[in-house]
Subunit: 207 residues, 2 copies
Amino acid sequence: MLMSELATRTGVPVPTIKYYLREGVLTPGRATSATRAEYGEPHVERIALVKALSGHGLSLAKIKAIVGLIDSPEASLLEALGAATSALPPASESAADTDYPRARAAFATLGRPLPADLPAVAQFEQALTDAEAAGLPMDEDRLRAYSPHITAIAAYEIDRMPLESPAAAIEYAVLGTVLYEPILAALRRIIHAELTAERLASHLGNG
Amino acid sequence: MLMSELATRTGVPVPTIKYYLREGVLTPGRATSATRAEYGEPHVERIALVKALSGHGLSLAKIKAIVGLIDSPEASLLEALGAATSALPPASESAADTDYPRARAAFATLGRPLPADLPAVAQFEQALTDAEAAGLPMDEDRLRAYSPHITAIAAYEIDRMPLESPAAAIEYAVLGTVLYEPILAALRRIIHAELTAERLASHLGNG
């Protein structure tokens, strides 16, 4: 398809597509003349990826890093997956405690190893610190209650990661993380509202 | 305690505390002289609440609305809870489809009612639309896989909502939403890393 059709298919305007090409997050089409190029389905998919990531607050530099990993993955897929998902927001703030004492204690409670060098560990430590400071610390009971359910959700997701190509695996991991996280968060809030109405109704009924 | 002690206890500087007083998100202390006032534990707790909410991107206007609901809840606790949690970010964008067709279909699949007038429903619709646009639509199987686990997490949380006073219930609902959401998100990402390593190891072992 021509660039104009690519714009229609993806909903991304031609100047933005040209910008993606210049920045190297989109590979050039197949030149059919001096001024025309032919684009295909891989271009449609790549634009959807770039659009989704930039819609979730990623800078073009971070998107470029992720796209680079997809296009020429490192020797180890595990390392490439780690590098790609580490580029996702929120950026880990420079926590005062780089030893992550709360995250470490939480994983010890769960009897699981705490992976090293993962931005999510810094995010976890920060979130635990915030909860503590606000007077709603994460206690062991709550942690034990959350853990099997989050593990089941994560297991469903990782079981479905396509492994036929490193590129497909990396794309699924980054998109799955940024796209399903807000779905899970919104679902939790909607179900909160439903359960609150039920609990208050029964509380009033018993009161 | 004096304002200086309040600042030490909460880690919030005196000028910020004065700003909170001026803006009405903190009630004045008990005046002990023309220039001195005595503050107590409720002030410590309120500052922790304001700090936690502003740390999660809420404007002072929104915090003021929440604090107003805590201080003088409406006739119905359910309405006050709905109003308070509706003030939390992310702000629902004006979705093109205010009929929420994807959210509606998802809840029909789950056999549950979709609560009306909830910003989380607009967030859910937006998140489902984003996933669809990026080529990873939420299918029925994934929805059915997520639902019981998110419901179990939400049920644990709502069961622990203190009902002895409307203020305590509202405070728990808003803080619980903003504080535990990033904890759950970080936990999911850490467990992803762990399960990915396991799956790749077994994939390579079988391959």
